[in-house]
C-alpha cells in the first residue's frame, strides 16, 4: 500500500498512478452529491445547463453532512460518506464531464469501472460512519446549493485539508477492490449455506 497526498483540481496523470488499496489524503475542494441533489445536477447537465461547480479535475463526495448555521455561514459537525451504490448511475456522466475522483462507500458496478479506465478517474472509499473524523478535516463550507432539498441532499462545496484516510477501491486500470472481495465472499457463502443444509434442526 502506498500513501499519497493529493490536491484538487486533480490531474489525470496523478490519478492514473493510484492503485487499488492505496491510501490517499486529499486537500483542496470537494462537493457533496446524493439522491435528489445528484439527480438534479445530472438533469441540469443533460439539458445543457451550466453546472454549479467546476467539474474539471473535481472530487465528488457522496455524503449528506450534518451542518448547522453559524452566523452568516455554515459549520459542518459530522460528514462521513453515504452509500455510493445509489448514485452509481450518475458516475459515468460525471466522470466524462471531468470529475476525477468519486468518494463514498460501498459497492459500485461496471459503469464506474469503465469510466474510470477510459478517463483516468478513481473511486475511493472513506471508512463508513466516521463522520466526526471527516468533519475535522473540513476547514470551511465554501457554498451550499439547493438547500430546498433539505440539508442532507443539498450540494455542499467544502474546503478540506488532508481529508482521509481514503482507500482506492477502483483504479484507472479497471481494478475493483470490492469485486475481488465479492468473489471471495460469495465462495465463502456457498460453503456456509452448505454447512447450514447439513445441520439438523430441532
Amino acid at each position: 500500500m502506498r500513501k499519497y497526498f493529493l490536491r484538487t483540481p486533480l490531474r489525470e496523470d496523478d490519478v492514473r498512478r493510484l492503485r487499488v488499496g492505496d491510501k490517499v489524503y486529499l486537500s483542496g475542494r470537494l462537493f457533496t452529491l446524493r439522491d435528489r441533489g445528484a439527480r438534479k445536477l445530472i438533469e441540469l447537465l443533460s439539458s445543457g445547463g451550466r453546472p454549479l461547480v467546476d467539474l474539471e479535475g473535481a472530487a465528488v463526495y457522496h455524503a449528506g453532512p450534518l451542518a448547522r448555521r453559524c452566523g452568516g455561514s455554515w459549520e459542518v459537525i459530522s460528514a462521513g460518506p453515504t452509500t455510493s451504490t445509489r448514485m452509481e448511475r450518475y458516475d459515468p456522466e460525471l466522470i466524462a464531464c471531468g470529475v476525477k475522483a468519486i468518494i463514498g462507500k460501498g459497492r459500485l458496478l461496471e459503469g464506474t469501472r469503465k469510466a474510470c479506465r477510459k478517463h483516468g478517474a478513481t473511486y475511493m472509499i472513506y471508512p463508513g460512519g466516521c463522520g466526526a473524523l471527516a468533519a475535522k478535516s473540513i476547514k470551511r463550507v465554501v457554498s451550499a446549493h439547493w438547500l430546498e432539498l433539505g440539508i442532507p441532499e443539498a450540494i455542499w462545496v467544502l474546503e478540506v485539508e488532508d481529508f482521509g484516510p481514503l482507500y482506492v477501491a477502483i483504479d484507472s486500470e479497471g481494478r475493483d477492490l470490492y469485486l475481488e472481495r465479492e468473489e471471495s465472499v460469495s465462495k465463502a457463502r456457498e460453503k456456509v449455506l452448505e454447512e447450514l443444509r447439513s445441520r439438523s434442526y430441532s
Binding site: R68, K105, G106, C130, L196
Partner: protein, 312 residues
C-alpha cells in the same frame, strides 16, 4: 408572592418535561458517545484485525475519540428515531401527553445536539426539517404493571437499514429460514452497511412482530445471550457462521464481519411464522432511561455482557 414562586417551581419539572429532557439527553448521549459495550467490542475487533480491516478499525476508533472529545455525533447520519416505551399502568402520564413530550424532545434535540433532519415526507418527498413527520417517530408501546416508564431510543441509520428484511415462513422451517435469511443478507449487502455489524433477529409472531422484536434485540447489551439455552446457542452458531463470510471491517476483510447476534422470540401461528433481520452498522446507537412518578430518572449504562441502572 411566595405561592406564585412555589407554583412556578413545581411547574418547572412536571413529568412531561422530564420525559422531554430525557429524550434530548438520550439522543445526545447515543449519538456522541455511543454505548460503552459497543466501544469496548470495537476495540476487541481492532485487536484481532489486520491489513485494511485494521486500518478501518483504527479510523473508527479515532472517530469515536473525536466524537466524544469534541461533542460531535460520531456519524452524520443521525438516523431515523425509533422509540420503544414500556409503560406501567400507574405511571401518571397519559399516552397522548407522553407522545407529545417525546416529539418535543426530538425537535429540541435536532437543534441542540444537533441531529441531521432525516424525516422525508413520503407523499411530497420534502424534508420536514425536524426529524418529526407522519408516523415519525415511530413509537412502540408495551403496557405493563407498576408505575415506572421505561423509554428506549434507537437511531437507525439509512445505510444498514437498507439491508433489513422481514418475511413469513412455514414454522417447521423457522430456524433454518432465519439462518438462511441472515446469511443471504450479510453476504449480499454488507459491503454497503458499514461493518463490523450488529445483527438483531426476530423469530415468531406475524411479520410485523418479528420486525419489531428484531429491532428490540439490538437494545440488548453486546455479549448478553438470550435467556433460553437453545436460542442462546443458536445466536452463537449464527455469529460463528456469519464471520466465516469474511466481509470484514468496511467490507475490506482482515477481521470480524459481525460483532454480535441477538435473537428475540415470540409465539407464532401454527401455519406461519415471522422472521426478520435487523442489520446495524458498527455505530449501534441506542439507550434506555427509567422515569419514576416523582420525576427521578435512571439511565442504563451499557457494558460488555451487561449493564447497570444508575441515577441520572
Amino acid at each position: 408572592m411566595y405561592l406564585i414562586w412555589a407554583e412556578y417551581l413545581s411547574d418547572a419539572t412536571p413529568l412531561r418535561k422530564v420525559v422531554e429532557d430525557s429524550v434530548v439527553e438520550l439522543l445526545k448521549y447515543i449519538n456522541i458517545a455511543v454505548g460503552d459495550d459497543v466501544v469496548a467490542s470495537l476495540r476487541r475487533v481492532r485487536d484481532i484485525s489486520s491489513g485494511l480491516g485494521a486500518e478501518v478499525m483504527d479510523a473508527i476508533l479515532r472517530n469515536i475519540e473525536v466524537g466524544r472529545s469534541e461533542g460531535r455525533p460520531v456519524c452524520q447520519d443521525t438516523g431515523l428515531v425509533v422509540v420503544k416505551v414500556v409503560i406501567g399502568d400507574e405511571f401518571p402520564l397519559k399516552l397522548g401527553e407522553l407522545r407529545s413530550s417525546i416529539i418535543k424532545g426530538i425537535t429540541r434535540a435536532t437543534e441542540e445536539v444537533p441531529l441531521r433532519p432525516n424525516a422525508i415526507d413520503s407523499i411530497t418527498g420534502m424534508n420536514t426539517g425536524s426529524n418529526v413527520g407522519e408516523k415519525a417517530p415511530w413509537i412502540v408501546v408495551e403496557p405493563t404493571e407498576g408505575d415506572v416508564l421505561e423509554l428506549g431510543i434507537m437511531v437507525k441509520g439509512g445505510g444498514s437499514e437498507a439491508a433489513c428484511r422481514a418475511l413469513a415462513v412455514p414454522p417447521v422451517r423457522g430456524l433454518r429460514a432465519a439462518a438462511n435469511l441472515v446469511v443471504d443478507v450479510i453476504a449480499e449487502y454488507s459491503f454497503n452497511t458499514c461493518p463490523p455489524l450488529f445483527v438483531g433477529v426476530g423469530l415468531g409472531g406475524t411479520v410485523a412482530t418479528a420486525a419489531e422484536i428484531a429491532y428490540e434485540a439490538l437494545f440488548r447489551p453486546v455479549g448478553v445471550r438470550h435467556w433460553s439455552r437453545e436460542i442462546a446457542e443458536f445466536e452463537e452458531y449464527l455469529l460463528e457462521l456469519l464471520n466465516k463470510l469474511d466481509v470484514g471491517p468496511g467490507g475490506l476483510g482482515g477481521g470480524p464481519t459481525v460483532i454480535d447476534v441477538h435473537i428475540e422470540t415470540a409465539a407464532h401461528h401454527p401455519a406461519s411464522m415471522g422472521v426478520a433481520v435487523a442489520v446495524n452498522c458498527w455505530a449501534l446507537r441506542r439507550g434506555k432511561v427509567r422515569i419514576y412518578p416523582d420525576g427521578t430518572t435512571e439511565f442504563f449504562k451499557y457494558s460488555l455482557g451487561g449493564g447497570v441502572w444508575i441515577r441520572w
